[in-house]
C-alpha cells in the first residue's frame, strides 16, 4: 500500500539531490548558448507570435475582452510546463540508465528533477506574461494570492503522470510515442487558445465531459487567479465541483497510481535498461 505522506516526506528528504540534478541540467543546457537562459523565455515568445498570427489574426478567435496574446499566454505557459515536464520525465529514467545502473538512490529523483527544471522554466516565463499584462493595462485579479495553490495542484498532477509514464517507459518503449500523441490531442481539448464559451456553444453536455480533463480546469484556475474579472466569462455550467474538486480528485488518484506503479517497477529498472 502506498502512503502518500510517506512518499512526500521522502521527496522532501531528497530535495537536495533533486535540486542538484535539476540545476545541473539547466547549467549544462544553457552554459554555452550566448543567450543562455534567455532561451527559456524566447522560445515561448516566438511560439506565441506564431499562435497570435495563426489564431488571433488569421482565424480571429474571440477571446473575451482580453487581448489574444494575454489570454493565450496565460494558458500557454502552464501548458508548456505540463507538456514539457511530462514528455521529458517520460524519457528521463531510460536516459539516465547510467545512474540507475550504478547507484542505489531514491529513483523518483530522476523524473522529479525533470519536473523541477520545467518549473524553474515556468518561473522564468511568468514575468513575460506579467509584462504583457502591464502593457495591455489589464487589472490583476485579487485571487492572485491563490496562485501558489493552483501551481501546487498543477505540479502534483504533473508528478503523478510523470511517475506513471517514466516507469512504464522502462518496460514498454512505446509509452513515449503514445504519450506524445495524447499530449498533442489534449492540447486541443484544453482552453489554451480558445475560450471556454466556444465549447459551451457546441453543447453544454460536452462541456461537462470536457471539464473532466484536469488541465482544462487547472488552466481556467490560472486565468481566474491572474486575470482580473475573469470569473464573469465562465459558463454558468461550471461549478466549483468542476473547477476545483474534480481536478483535485483526479490529481490525487493519478498521484497515488503514479507512486504505486513506480514503486512496483523500480526494483527491476536496472534489469531492463
Amino acid at each position: 500500500m502506498i502512503n502518500l505522506i510517506y512518499e512526500i516526506k521522502k521527496i522532501f528528504i531528497n530535495r537536495q539531490i533533486i535540486w542538484n540534478l535539476a540545476i545541473n541540467q539547466i547549467k549544462a543546457k544553457y552554459r554555452y548558448p550566448v543567450l543562455g537562459i534567455m532561451w527559456s523565455m524566447l522560445t515561448p515568445l516566438f511560439l506565441s507570435v506564431i499562435f497570435l498570427i495563426a489564431f488571433g489574426i488569421i482565424m480571429k478567435i474571440k477571446t473575451t475582452e482580453y487581448p489574444f496574446l494575454v489570454y493565450f499566454l496565460s494558458g500557454m505557459f502552464p501548458w508548456i510546463y505540463f507538456s514539457a515536464s511530462v514528455l521529458e520525465a517520460c524519457n528521463s529514467v531510460v536516459q539516465n540508465n547510467n545512474l540507475i545502473k550504478s547507484v542505489a538512490f531514491y529513483r523518483q529523483n530522476i523524473p522529479l528533477s525533470c519536473i523541477l527544471v520545467n518549473l524553474i522554466n515556468f518561473f522564468f516565463n511568468l514575468p513575460v506574461l506579467f509584462i504583457f499584462i502591464l502593457i495591455f493595462k489589464i487589472k490583476i485579479s485579487l485571487y492572485i494570492i491563490l496562485l501558489p495553490f493552483v501551481l501546487m495542484l498543477h505540479t502534483l498532477l504533473i508528478i503523478g503522470i510523470s511517475l506513471i509514464v517514466s516507469s512504464l517507459q522502462v518496460r514498454i518503449r512505446d509509452t513515449r510515442y503514445i504519450l506524445e500523441l495524447l499530449v498533442n490531442a489534449i492540447f486541443f481539448l484544453t482552453p489554451v487558445f480558445y475560450p471556454l464559451n466556444m465549447i459551451k456553444e457546441i453543447s453544454s453536455d460536452f462541456l461537462k465531459i470536457y471539464m473532466f480533463n484536469p488541465m482544462a480546469s487547472i488552466i481556467t484556475l490560472y486565468r481566474i487567479t491572474i486575470l482580473g474579472g475573469y470569473t464573469k466569462y465562465l459558463p454558468a455550467e461550471i461549478s466549483y465541483f468542476n473547477l476545483i474538486f474534480l481536478p483535485l480528485i483526479i490529481t490525487f488518484l493519478l498521484l497515488y497510481l503514479g507512486f504505486f506503479i513506480f514503486n512496483k517497477l523500480e526494483p527491476s529498472f536496472a534489469d531492463f535498461i
Binding site: I17, N20, N24, K27, A28, R31, K101, D271
Partner: protein, 571 residues
C-alpha cells in the same frame, strides 16, 4: 568503529537468487532462463574484509549490485545493518559541461551525502584528488585519468558501514594507486567492513579475511583466502574446470573426436560396411574443390551384413590440422531407426552452404550405435576436399558480419591486408590473457545483444554485437586499423575482421547478425595496428562469451544441412 548490533552480522544474504530470461529473437519458443545467482547464503561480521572472486560473468557484479540495492534479487532475503557505499562504477552523474567543483557536489549528493557533509569534506576530497588547480575548469577538459581520480576521491570520502569495491582500484598513476591502497588499508585498520571484487589474487590474499568464490552464479567456496584462491585457480585451469562442470562445454569432447592420429585407421564391428563415399557439388558432380559458401553433398553407400539395432549416421568435417569443424549425426537431428536388416542402403547429407574459410579439409564418415560407444563402421579422416581461395591467416570460419559505422565511405574500398593479417594473428599467441604493453588504447570490449544489453552468454543464431571502445586521450598516427577476432577457448582462430579506423573514432561496433557457433566458450580479441602491421595495442584472450545451443552437434560451427537415406531392408 562499527556500531554494535543486536545480532552479530552486518550483512546477511539468505537464498539469494537472480534470474534473467533470455529470449531467442528469431525463435520465441526457445527462450532460456539464466541464473545470474543461485542460492547464495552469506553472513558477514562487522569489520571483516570479504574478497569476491570468480571468472567474468560468474555473478560478482550482480551480487554487488544486489547488496548495493541497485537491483533486487528474484528471490531471497537481504539483511543489512548499516549504510552501504559502493565503488562499483565511478563518476555517477558526471557531466562534461560542468566544472570539477560542481561535479563533486552532484556526484557526492547522488552517493548520499548531504550538502553540509559535502562542504565539510570538500577540502579533503580535493586534496585526495590532487586536482586543486583544475577545480573550476569544465570536466571535458580533464583527461580520463583525472576524471577517475576525481570520482574516486569523492567515492572514498562517503561515510559507510559496508564498502563495496569492484575492480576499480587501478585508477590513475602508480602514486595515486598507492594512495588508494593506503586509504583502503586505513579503512581496514578502522575496522570497517568491505567487500572487494578483484582479479588480483595478490590483493585479495593480502587484504581479505574471507573470500567468496562464485562460478556460474553459484557459491563454490566461502572460506579462508588461500583455500578459495586455490580453488579458483583450479577453475581457471581449464582441465579441472571441465572436471567440475562436464556440462559446460563440448570443446573437450571435440578434442577427443578430433584425434588426428586416428585418421586413416578404419574402426568398426563390421555389422555394416561403408562401400562407397562420394563428395558431390550442387550439380551432383564428383569433385573435391569447392568455392567458399558453396553447397556440398556427401553420399555414402553401405551394406548391412547383420541386422543392426538403432544405428545412426554421422559425417564430420575436420580441418587438415585436426580442428573439428562440424559433425552432425542423424540422432542429434532427431531421427531414429529401430533396426536395419541385411541389405544395401545409402545416406546423404547436403550442406546448404559451407561457411568455412578456404583450406584443406577432411571428412570422417561413420555408422554408429545408439550411444556412440562403438561404430559399426567408421572411416575417420578418409576423404579430403578443399575450399579454394586465400586464407593466409588460417581463420576457420566464414561468419556473417558487418561493421556498424555511420557514413564511413572508405569502408567500401577494398583493403588488401588479408595476407598481412597472419602476422598479427601469429604474433598474438604470446599475449593470451593480457593487454599489450603500457600504451593502453583499447579501453574495453563490450559484448551486447540486439537490445543493447551487456551479455556474456548468447544462444545459437542470436545477434552478437561487439563494441570496442578506445581511450579518449590517445592519439594515433594514421592511418591505423582495427582487427576483431574470435577464438575458441583452446586457442583456435575462428574468425577475424578488420578495417581502417576513421580519425577520432572511439567506438567501433561489429555485428554478427547470426552467430552460428556451437556450444562452448569463445574469446573476442581486438588489435589496433598501423600500416606497417605494427601492433599498437591488443586485447587478446581477455573478453569471452559463451554460446548455448539446444543442439548437441560436435564441432565449432553449425552448417545447415539435410539428411536423406534409403535401405532395402528397413524395419
Amino acid at each position: 568503529m562499527p556500531i554494535l548490533y543486536n545480532d552479530m552480522y552486518i550483512l546477511e544474504l539468505k537464498n539469494i537468487e537472480k534470474k534473467f530470461i533470455l529470449k531467442d529473437v528469431d525463435n520465441p519458443y526457445f527462450g532460456s532462463e539464466i541464473y545470474a545467482l543461485k542460492d547464495i547464503n552469506i553472513k558477514v561480521q562487522p569489520g571483516q574484509i570479504i574478497g569476491l572472486i570468480g571468472r567474468n560473468g560468474s555473478g560478482k557484479t550482480t551480487l554487488l549490485n544486489i547488496i548495493a540495492g541497485i537491483t533486487s534479487p528474484t528471490s531471497g532475503e537481504i539483511k543489512i545493518n548499516g549504510k552501504v557505499s559502493c565503488l562499483i562504477s565511478l563518476g555517477v552523474g558526471f557531466q562534461n559541461e560542468l566544472s570539477g567543483r560542481e561535479n563533486i557536489y552532484l556526484n557526492a549528493s547522488l552517493l548520499g551525502m548531504s550538502k553540509s557533509e559535502i562542504k565539510n569534506k570538500f577540502n579533503e576530497i580535493v586534496k585526495f584528488s590532487e586536482l586543486k588547480s583544475f577545480l573550476d575548469l569544465p570536466l571535458h577538459s580533464y583527461s580520463q585519468g583525472m576524471k577517475m581520480r576525481l570520482a574516486f576521491s569523492v567515492a572514498i570520502n562517503v561515510d559507510f558501514d559496508i564498502l563495496l569495491i569492484d575492480e576499480i582500484i587501478s585508477v590513475g598513476d602508480i602514486s595515486f594507486q598507492k594512495k588508494c591502497f593506503e586509504k583502503i588499508e586505513s579503512f581496514k585498520k578502522e575496522g570497517k567492513t568491505m567487500i572487494v571484487a578483484s582479479q588480483s589474487m595478490e590483493l585479495i590474499e593480502r587484504l581479505c579475511d574471507r573470500v567468496i568464490l562464485l562460478e556460474k552464479g553459484e557459491l563454490i567456496k566461502y572460506s579462508e583466502p588461500k583455500e578459495a584462491i586455490e580453488n579458483y585457480l583450479a577453475i581457471l585451469a581449464e582441465k579441472k574446470f571441465f572436471e567440475l562442470y562436464p556440462h559446460i562445454s563440448t570443446i573437450d569432447k571435440i578434442k577427443w573426436w578430433a584425434k588426428k592420429e586416428e585418421w586413416g585407421t578404419r574402426l568398426g564391428s563390421g555389422g555394416a560396411q561403408i562401400t562407397n563415399v562420394e563428395i558431390l557439388n550442387a550439380q551432383d558432380k564428383n569433385t573435391d574443390t569447392f568455392n567458399p559458401g558453396e553447397a556440398m553433398k556427401v553420399k555414402v553407400d553401405f551394406i548391412v551384413k547383420r541386422r543392426i539395432r538403432e544405428p545412426h549416421f554421422g559425417v564430420a568435417i575436420f580441418r587438415e590440422d585436426g580442428v573439428y569443424c562440424y559433425g552432425p549425426n542423424t540422432s542429434f537431428d532427431g531421427y531414429r531407426f529401430e533396426e536395419i536388416k541385411e541389405g544395401k542402403g545409402y545416406f546423404t547429407i547436403t550442406y546448404k552452404k559451407l561457411n568455412l574459410m578456404p583450406g584443406d579439409y577432411r571428412i570422417s564418415v561413420g555408422i554408429w550405435d545408439k550411444l556412440e560407444n562403438y561404430p559399426f563402421d567408421y572411416l575417420p579422416g578418409f576423404y579430403k576436399f578443399q575450399i579454394i581461395g586465400n586464407n593466409d591467416s588460417n581463420a576457420l570460419l566464414n561468419l556473417e558480419y558487418k561493421w556498424d559505422s555511420k557514413n564511413l565511405d572508405f569502408l567500401n574500398e577494398p583493403l588488401d591486408l588479408n595476407k598481412e593479417i597472419k602476422k598479427i594473428v601469429y604474433n598474438l599467441n604470446e599475449y593470451w590473457g593480457k593487454q599489450f604493453g603500457d600504451n593502453k588504447i583499447i579501453r574495453r570490449i563490450d559484448l551486447v545483444d540486439k537490445k543493447g544489453l551487456l551479455r556474456d552468454s548468447f544462444s545459437y543464431n542470436e545477434t552478437l554485437i561487439v563494441d570496442v571502445e578506445l581511450e579518449d586521450k590517445v592519439y594515433l598516427e594514421k592511418p591505423f586499423f582495427i582487427w576483431v577476432g574470435i577464438f575458441r577457448d583452446d586457442g583456435v582462430y575462428c574468425h577475424g575482421a578488420f578495417r581502417k579506423l576513421a580519425e577520432k573514432e572511439r567506438e567501433i561496433r561489429i555485428i554478427y547478425p547470426h552467430i552460428k557457433l556451437l556450444t562452448g566458450r569463445y574469446y573476442i580479441s581486438s588489435v589496433i595496428f598501423n600500416e606497417g602491421m605494427l601492433i599498437l595495442d591488443c586485447c587478446h584472450g581477455i573478453y569471452h562469451f559463451e554460446i548455448y545451443t539446444h543442439r548437441k552437434d560436435h564441432g565449432t560451427v553449425y552448417i545447415e544441412h539435410k539428411w536423406k537415406w534409403g535401405f532395402d531392408g528397413k524395419i
